[in-house]
Symmetry: C2
Subunit: 243 residues, 2 copies
DNA sequence: GAGTGGTCTAGACCACAAT
DNA sequence: TTGTGGTCTAGACCACTCC
């Protein structure tokens, strides 16, 4: 590491180290859940002090890109290795408990992306998406009807990975493709159930539903999934914490 | 600062410093927006190294309790001094722009708290709440009907501070009472408009509305406000970012 | 006991803001 | 020029995990 000072757009050393480390994860050098080299080894490799590496890793830990454990080491983030399989799932029941829904796939298709998918995923018509529609139950009651779309350029052959594996899509993306989803941006609206919703959810047409549109972003910052769910919020709510 | 090592429930020095500093803000030693002493002065006062103070302040900055500005100093957080007056307002229009609504007060009352208010604010019947109902407009269209309740034990005389000041309640709480709201926990549901909602919002009964229940927490961790809004999401949505 | 991350310290220098 | 926070370094020691 040279070039420690540069007045134009000053870029600290630790930030450069951080970017290099992130790049290596994105490139697949270290898979989700993998153990990174120790601080001192990384410091030696890049010829900086241990404190500088520490700042880079602490930064990454605060963004949940890695997990640090005293006495063990620093690990690439991963839903698999952590105990948070439903990290992005914000629906709680009225006792403030996160129930895990039972999922039933309705259908799936490889298709040219529609306008919404193109915009959300930042792709053109030339890249197909794999679109899955599914119904989810709480306590044998249908509660969520929705679909998600995955880009096939990043996930070739995704359409063949059917079955149980698709129950938790993020674990699948990690295990099969080494892609780590680190952030989700959601837009929420109240909508009236249409005939399609009402039929699957056992409601009257016009019943209020909570619509959740989600764009999931990988560690590299790329949008990888576009999802739309419509949820019955009679006995559940969406939890949002603002700080 | 003595007692630097203690095996049972090890509590690092910087965490102790952090707690002491927070307590001084909560106690009103430093008002919202105030300039804190420099790192070196704090370090000298508590007889620790500057690095330890730095860690405490960095921690506080990451929780948005203080704002650090190179060359100027460290400031107690405050919506007033910052440029984020609608920090907790998550409704955007469909162009992803945060419009500031026009607010019209409907009524206000000092009252014994109902069950929901008691639970949300963690108070008993003995502490009255000041309850304000209001209607908010986007582009002259009524869009949000709701009410908030403030505990009168923390905000004595709040009922006399009517008018413009109540448009932004959090700035009022900072300026008049020195209370800094640092966190909000919101529960969202889709509900059907009742006659009351429909009348104010110009909708049919049964129209879908996004209900937002909010509990606001002060820097000391006390719940200070309980709010319930019902929002028309025809041209707006609620933005939630999950990391 | 060896290795890891976590804490604490001390000092040098840089970038930024105000004077 | 002075004072602030920001970066970088080097070293000592502590707490945790595993062998």
């Amino acid at each position: 590491m040279e070039d420690k000072t540069q007045t134009l757009g000053f870029h600290p050393l630790y930030a450069q180290i951080k970017e290099l480390l992130i790049q290596r994860v994105v490139d697949g050098d270290w898979r989700p859940g993998a153990l990174l080299p120790s601080e001192s080894k990384i410091a030696a490799e890049y010829e900086v002090s241990q404190g500088t590496v520490r700042k880079a890793l602490d930064d990454m830990a605060s963004e949940k890109l890695v997990v640090r454990r005293q006495g063990k080491g620093t690990f690439v983030s991963g839903r698999t290795s952590q105990h948070v399989p439903f990290h992005f799932f914000r629906l709680l029941n009225d006792d403030n408990v996160r129930e895990v829904p039972v999922t039933k796939m309705i259908n799936s298709v490889l298709a040219e992306p529609n306008a919404a998918e193109q915009e959300a995923l930042g792709i053109g018509k030339d890249i197909e998406v794999y679109r899955v529609e599914r119904l989810r139950y709480f306590d044998d009651e249908p509660a969520i009807i929705g679909k998600y779309s995955l880009r096939t350029d990043m996930f070739p052959g995704i359409e063949d990975l059917v079955g149980d594996k698709l129950a938790n899509i993020y674990i699948l993306l990690e295990q099969e493709f080494g892609i780590i989803v680190v952030k989700a941006v959601e837009k929420l609206r109240a909508v009236a159930a249409d005939e399609h919703d009402a039929g699957f959810l056992g409601l009257e047409v016009g019943a209020p539903l909570l619509e959740i549109e989600r764009i999931s972003l990988s560690m590299g910052g790329k949008p990888v999934e576009f999802r739309t769910d419509r949820c019955v919020t009679r006995h559940h709510h969406y939890l949002s914490e603002i700080t």
